[in-house]
Subunit: 434 residues, 3 copies
Amino acid sequence: MKLRYKLLLCSLAVLFADSVQAQDLTADTVQDNLNYVWTILAACLVFFMQAGFAMVEVGFTRAKNAVNIIMKNMMDVGAGSLAFYFVGFGIMFGTTAGGWIGTDGFALSTIGDYSIEWSYTFFFFQAVFAATAATIVSGAVAERTAFNAYLIFSIIITAVIYPVFGSWAWGSLFNGSGWLEGLGFIDFAGSTVVHSVGGWAALAGAIVVGPRVGKYVDGKPQTIKGHSIPLAALGVFILWLGWFGFNAGSTTTGDTSIALIALNTFLAAGAGASGAMIISWFSTGKPDGAVTLNGVLAGLVGITAGCANLTPGFAIIAGLVAGILVHYSMILLEKKVDDAVGAVSVHGVCGAWGTLAAGLFNTGDMFNPSIIGVQLIGIAAAFLWTFGVSYLVFKLIDLVIPLRVNGHLEEMGLDLHEHDAEAYPEFSTAAGIA
Amino acid sequence: MKLRYKLLLCSLAVLFADSVQAQDLTADTVQDNLNYVWTILAACLVFFMQAGFAMVEVGFTRAKNAVNIIMKNMMDVGAGSLAFYFVGFGIMFGTTAGGWIGTDGFALSTIGDYSIEWSYTFFFFQAVFAATAATIVSGAVAERTAFNAYLIFSIIITAVIYPVFGSWAWGSLFNGSGWLEGLGFIDFAGSTVVHSVGGWAALAGAIVVGPRVGKYVDGKPQTIKGHSIPLAALGVFILWLGWFGFNAGSTTTGDTSIALIALNTFLAAGAGASGAMIISWFSTGKPDGAVTLNGVLAGLVGITAGCANLTPGFAIIAGLVAGILVHYSMILLEKKVDDAVGAVSVHGVCGAWGTLAAGLFNTGDMFNPSIIGVQLIGIAAAFLWTFGVSYLVFKLIDLVIPLRVNGHLEEMGLDLHEHDAEAYPEFSTAAGIA
Amino acid sequence: MKLRYKLLLCSLAVLFADSVQAQDLTADTVQDNLNYVWTILAACLVFFMQAGFAMVEVGFTRAKNAVNIIMKNMMDVGAGSLAFYFVGFGIMFGTTAGGWIGTDGFALSTIGDYSIEWSYTFFFFQAVFAATAATIVSGAVAERTAFNAYLIFSIIITAVIYPVFGSWAWGSLFNGSGWLEGLGFIDFAGSTVVHSVGGWAALAGAIVVGPRVGKYVDGKPQTIKGHSIPLAALGVFILWLGWFGFNAGSTTTGDTSIALIALNTFLAAGAGASGAMIISWFSTGKPDGAVTLNGVLAGLVGITAGCANLTPGFAIIAGLVAGILVHYSMILLEKKVDDAVGAVSVHGVCGAWGTLAAGLFNTGDMFNPSIIGVQLIGIAAAFLWTFGVSYLVFKLIDLVIPLRVNGHLEEMGLDLHEHDAEAYPEFSTAAGIA
């Protein structure tokens, strides 16, 4: 991970107005400025993924819970930004205690050898990553989880669960490597660090909170259709856009290395869409809309770890496999666990696949067993840590505050009970259980 | 304001194709190019705020007026771009007559010491700002104002009302300072110049046009629910995204100074969301969706003036206070004035707060009475000028063209009467007055 | 077109981490890096236009076909990205066989004198252009075309039809000029190459597939209203945003030349909106929402060819004329051809107009008959090639697979029959034929 941090020691880069012509600018200074511009614009794109998640989750769930989903997504980043500022960032990027946890840098109180401006930039980029991990959970547990209970979990994952694993895999910004980082774990932009962590926390949440009313009849899963495929599709397009910032911005350097990453991200998503569409067509007889949309996201998650290490051809393969995988994963998982939007399959399962693919297809050292071994260790560590702790935290929250709204209120919809609101007060809607 | 303009005198920066390798590029030239790239991309983000405003205003109003709102938003920037090109830009940035009004530079006929390319860039960035000020008004007067009357006001605010105040606070691009600028008024990206100006014009409009049919029953305000919270939420996310361009792009320089601004913008919005959610939860017993969405915007408006002058900690405080303020302001204002989307509270009141906060928490010179005094003068001047002139202009328009559609047509919806259209012709909708 | 390619021969630009300070960066290297950042961010904006097209097409058609439209748009870029990677790019930019067709560079197997990183970047930018041309067709033939038949056409236009014409007008990246390029044809960002090609293919498709059930009663065209004007408007805003990348990104160089292009794009769209609104107001008595939205797009298409060659004043004229033209074109075309969203008028007709305008108003050599003559040759060549081949391809597809779903299934909606899905399963909808 160290390679991804640019030392920005020179602080003479303050370029104001009339003095510019007089000043002798160096190429190094301009490159530093370019790195700021690139990283901040990439962070803006990653930020926008919150809108994408919100639209995907709203679209794939029922109208009666739309305000609730939106509030959860909005607060994932609203409260999450503060939680990561005061707590999470230090745990993730502070001086590491033996490779296990960061211990300083809270509220940017430590900046090491970096300029304060670079710390601001790096924090902003990482904070929108943290918000991504948190918001993955909201989709899986949608339509039955109480808002206050969810909000507590959202703050805990942003402040603690995500940063702890992040410190293992990406290490300290200041001093010391994470233990996984030390092994040579490859996860360039976070297939595991962000997506699997979000996905496994989502799995724990979906198990603890239990299925929605009506999801299982005689143990057989029923399809509960989302209320707006156009909004879900818009969300997928927004996520695809934001992912260019997510992956290529992870260089935090505006140079030629961003080209391969952007291209791989583009092609893998296209391959994920194609794979998912084809496999749904073969297995159900029709090209399925929701599966195809999730195929795009699967392809994106599947290239996130290896986006800087794979050639375009292997990026296509990684995406194609992810698109096929997400289809079967959703079918299998649904037999036992009610994940309202497919978040566990998209982010957890395809995150694991992407991490494995980054090892399997690593340019210059392909199918190397020791690299693959480390990737598997990282995948397993992410699952054990995140699923385990998240399960406990959800159980603990449930002891103090009921984690889910009761069945009658759930049938009325969370919007009315939790927010005294309706998403579409003028439209006549049906129950939504097909 | 001068500090924000970079002198770009060298015109040898034209870099084409094959000649690039031959040419001896200097670091100064590349930095100039970077400033272009940064400012233009920031302007694109600010432009996209038009989509955000359109979605917020559509979502927070009723379906029967959705086409009308969209037409108003589309023409704010459509006709506004031309009005600012031919008239507004010269009034705002032309050589100033005693600090009160610009007098040249219409249609970019004057460019002073700048290259024509930089004039294009600067104009583009400022034109999307002007469109923002105009579009704030459309939300407050929504659902009852005639399209032709609104269009005239929209052109007048973009061509005259906004530019005049802008010239006071930000001064000429070519020659001379505005009188407020001369006093040392701090408003980096426009809490007052853009948002309060938009907000006070909105207040004047809402008073002159009067409340919507059904808004007051026996003098008591009734809640008129918006028809699509998901679209409103999407709009808020888009605005949050665009605001990074709005604030950080106001440097018009791609350097390290954008880092603090971007971070402050991010954190203040999160704090605004948190403040608004918490205060609505305490005062109504439920975390309110619409209030939380407006809290994000309040936080953003509240940091706009001081985004380059406050530390992150104070940015959080500025945003938090704005989030709380917007909740109470909306409740108070609603007793007397019907603002359909809360624009006066978000942009007018929180714009004033943000301008005050920029003085109160000014890094290096905090709680300085003379700075605070100047800020208060600027806040007062914005109110007196904008509210006064806007009130007169709305009254004058009303004398010539009826400012509002008559009550019966209003109940049918503006879409049918004004545009012979329906936003959702296939969906069954109810009256929408709760 | 050669002018638009920057030679990026130096490969020492790999800037990593700790080594940056040690390395002696040159200004040339930093400018190269800036070109990467600019081109990739511009490509991201162009990519996002896919979301804009999807929302415009969904909004302007009926709810019962929304999933189908989304699937078509998603696969235009999903499968299209792969088709352009493996086939289209080589045909368009490979070493040209006599100015008629490219013959190498498939899957980036040839990179000429460029670095591989620059090839990745250039490909990414061009791939999102190709997806744009394809997706224009989906709107015109919406609501009755079979998904599998459409998908085949989409792949063929992306892999062959669009690239062949592109190679004529923009020439090879490696070796040789296209025949139109050799004549001096001006089409900076693709009024003809992308938009007219998309538009004339759309026209062929709309003719071959025939009108929707209920479109003509006794030979008179009936209005079939779109189901969501807010989504269509959102799509227009997204397209407007993306167009800044489309036009200004076509420099593939981050320098001062992007300023005029961005400004012209902004002003022409505003003028297009104004022109369309005014002409609809005069001719129908009301300012029409759908016409105004299409006016924005018309203005954008109308400035795409000449965005780098026109002064801002002429950009306004080009946009204004496009806005007026689109209104009359839609009325005329509708008498005979059922284009569900106005794609032929917006992209085909206004693309031709924009190409002519680029010749008429060419700065420094205005109203030059020989320039105008070349523009007309290009316009005619685009029509003959694209309409002719597309017509044949659609006819051929129709021989093998029925191109359209049968009338009864069309009335039920394509979503049910083609995807076993509903876009809005909870909402009660009416038939949607006014």
